[in-house]
């Protein structure tokens, strides 16, 4: 297994607004290697976006962020970087695709020149080369008539085309890690599959690391090598996509997969939502975050935070934060 190119450990992120303070991420971590796709799944509000974009300083202004832990990009500690260093890293090392391309692209700026500027600044191309590169990036992202689209404003393109432009923009600086935060949620069903296919194709060709944040378990099964399941700011379970999707251990992962229609049809018990709502992250109790919604809850679940332990002995570590299921099902723990 290749060494991770981006690695986050023990991340704690508190968010403060004038009215609330929230522990959005509570001791979570993840890592991704070149050529690998990590999917991060979890309910809305579980902290997927904050965990992934927070260390890069990409949370929206207007909320105060208190961030602890370690985050290493290519071995460099990004949390210790100056704002200027972090800016360069954001532009060149990471490429980010957001959920809604309509609002994520500046309505006053033309598409093509933005790509060209990225190529010029981060890939070291001359102005003329950068312009050519921008057109070929648009073409590569599946945009027909790229010379024409180069001079277009966002409102002149459809949602699907805009997301392709967003992908082209993210790739223009030739990043090593591509972060896609629910890249298909805002798009039509037919376009969704095309965008996912495009991301997969790019990753195959460029061998970059991809972090895919998604609600779409189908997308996970198609794209992901590894999966991290996030619940209330903590990692409940992580492992290879095959392990997590076909042999989930954590009750939350099991519930999440059971709530997906037509998934794992051989032993599906029909779709059912997990009852209850996630805990209020403004007032967190000790113990397992999932306790209030868990059918298997034990008294000690409410007092001790379950550690993330390695189960099975596959080459890709499979880790689960539920001692109760591990004990009940006699799952072997590996150190």
């Amino acid at each position: 297994m290749t060494a991770p190119i981006y690695q986050v450990e023990g991340l704690v992120i508190d968010l403060y607004t004038p009215t609330v303070s929230v522990r959005a991420v509570d001791g979570a971590g993840f890592h991704v290697a070149p050529g690998e796709t990590l999917a991060i799944v979890g309910e809305s509000g579980s902290g997927k976006t904050v965990m992934t974009l927070g260390p890069l300083g990409l949370l929206p202004e207007g909320v105060a962020v208190d961030l602890r832990g370690t985050a290493r990009a290519d071995g460099k500690d990004i949390l210790a970087m100056s704002p200027a260093e972090l800016s360069r890293l954001r532009g060149g090392f990471f490429g980010v695709i957001f959920q809604d391309p309509m609002s994520a692209l500046n309505p006053m700026l033309k598409i093509g020149p933005q790509l060209a500027e990225q190529a010029r600044r981060f890939a070291g191309l001359s102005a003329a080369e950068a312009c050519k590169e921008a057109v070929s990036l648009l073409a590569r992202s599946g945009i027909p008539d790229p010379e024409d689209r180069y001079d277009r404003y966002p409102h002149e393109l459809s949602g699907g085309m805009l997301q392709r432009a967003m992908i082209a923009l993210a790739l223009a600086a030739r990043p090593r890690v591509l972060i896609a935060d629910e890249p298909t949620t805002a798009l039509d069903a037919t376009v969704q599959a095309q965008i996912l296919a495009l991301i997969r194709q790019i990753q195959k060709e460029d061998g970059i690391a991809v972090i895919l944040i998604t609600h779409d378990i189908g997308a996970v099964s198609v794209l992901a090598d590894r999966v991290a399941v996030l619940y209330a700011g903590q990692v409940a379970e992580e492992g290879s996509a095959i392990d997590v999707l076909t042999a989930p251990v954590h009750p939350y992962t099991r519930g999440l997969l059971a709530s997906v229609p037509d998934f794992r049809s051989e032993n599906a018990t029909g779709t059912k939502e997990i009852p209850g709502i996630p805990p209020n992250q403004a007032q967190l109790e000790p113990g397992c975050r999932f306790a209030d919604r868990c059918e298997l809850v034990q008294p000690q679940c409410r007092t001790h935070r379950p550690p993330l332990v390695k189960v099975g002995n596959g080459t890709v570590p499979h880790r689960v934060a539920c001692p109760v299921v591990i004990a009940a099902e006699g799952i072997v723990i590996h150190v």
């Binding site: 974009l53 929206p60 200027a84 954001r90 500046n106 404003y153 002149e156």
Partner: protein, 313 residues
């Protein structure tokens, strides 16, 4: 776009027509008799009822109002605004002498308001809640709540009387323009600085600003290159409104600083019941209001790519 453009222009012309008709009606309905004033001017105390009646008849003052308005409009369109009852000079001549003065006051004040408001708003947003932001916020609050005659008095006392840097009255050279410009620019600059600051803050928390950061831009670059173009439209609209309001400020400022502009003339016209002068000046104000708003509207349309290049279906 073309059609929207034509509609705006048409609407502006209609507005001017309606506004001049309204002022014409108001001015003629005001107490006071134009014919009596003219007779008095011509014959002094010897003006009698017969003479007044003859003048009124000659001028068509007894004709119905719509006819008189139509006649006035016809003259006005050829540049003939009548003869001032106060100065006895044709209004066109008065305007010729005074408009440059007022225009210099408004242009200088407008440029100053533009520069100050952008500088203050951007500096505030760059500081983002820091000391500079708070100081600038306080300054804008004071600037937006201090009446301009008071500002003028303070400036004159400090810079003319105490320091003797600039003359207290009249204009001679560029420095003498400084106090009038500052006085007239302070209010619009303060209002506009808040518009810049608030809109920039709002824009900086929009998703495309996050994209700007993700592109590797520093905060300053995101502010200037991604956020600033997006506030152009609200800024231009407010600027237009504030700039037209500056004509009201000009009335006070011209009097205080002894500038022989249109605003000062208007006050005198009211004092002397110079109905011809009043009507002419009000017409000028209306044309100024409507055309500035029209220009700003059209510029704002041009600045917005969504309006400039509407998506083809």
């Amino acid at each position: 776009m073309q059609r929207m453009f034509m509609r705006r222009v048409g609407l502006a012309l209609l507005l001017m027509l309606a506004a001049t008709a309204l002022t014409f009606w108001l001015v003629t309905a005001a107490p006071g008799n134009v014919a009596a004033l003219i007779a008095e001017r011509a014959a002094g105390a010897g003006a009698d009822g017969e003479m007044i009646a003859k003048i009124a008849d000659d001028l068509g003052l007894n004709d119905p109002l719509p006819l008189r308005y139509a006649r006035w409009l016809g003259d006005a369109l050829t540049g003939d605004f009548g003869i001032s009852l106060r100065t006895g000079k044709p209004m066109a001549e008065e305007f010729g002498e005074r408009i440059p003065m007022t225009l210099a006051l408004l242009t200088g004040g407008g440029v100053l308001a533009l520069v100050l408001s952008l500088a203050m708003g951007i500096a505030g947003a760059a500081s983002n809640g820091g000391g500079i932001d708070r100081v600038l916020h306080g300054m804008a609050l004071v600037g937006a709540s201090t009446p301009n005659f008071f500002v003028a008095a303070m400036l004159v006392i400090v810079f003319s009387v105490w320091l003797g840097w600039v003359p207290t009255f009249g204009v001679s050279g560029l420095t003498s323009w400084l106090l009038p410009w500052i006085t007239i620019a302070l209010f619009p600059a303060s209002v506009l600085a808040r518009v810049v600051r608030v809109n920039l803050q709002d824009t900086m928390s929009r998703p495309f600003a996050t994209t700007g950061f993700a592109k590797g831009l520093t905060r300053g670059a995101v502010l200037l290159r991604e956020a600033l173009p997006n506030i152009a439209i609200p800024y231009m609209t407010t600027f237009g409104a504030q700039f037209t309001l500056m004509i009201i400020g000009a009335i006070v400022v011209e009097r205080v600083f002894g500038l022989n502009g249109v605003g000062a003339f208007f006050i005198e016209a009211i004092r002397f019941r110079d109905f011809i002068g009043m009507q002419a000046t009000l017409t000028l104000f209306v044309v100024f209001f409507v055309s500035i708003n029209l220009i700003v509207d059209l510029l704002a349309m041009l600045a917005d790519p969504r309006l400039r290049r509407p998506r083809k279906a």
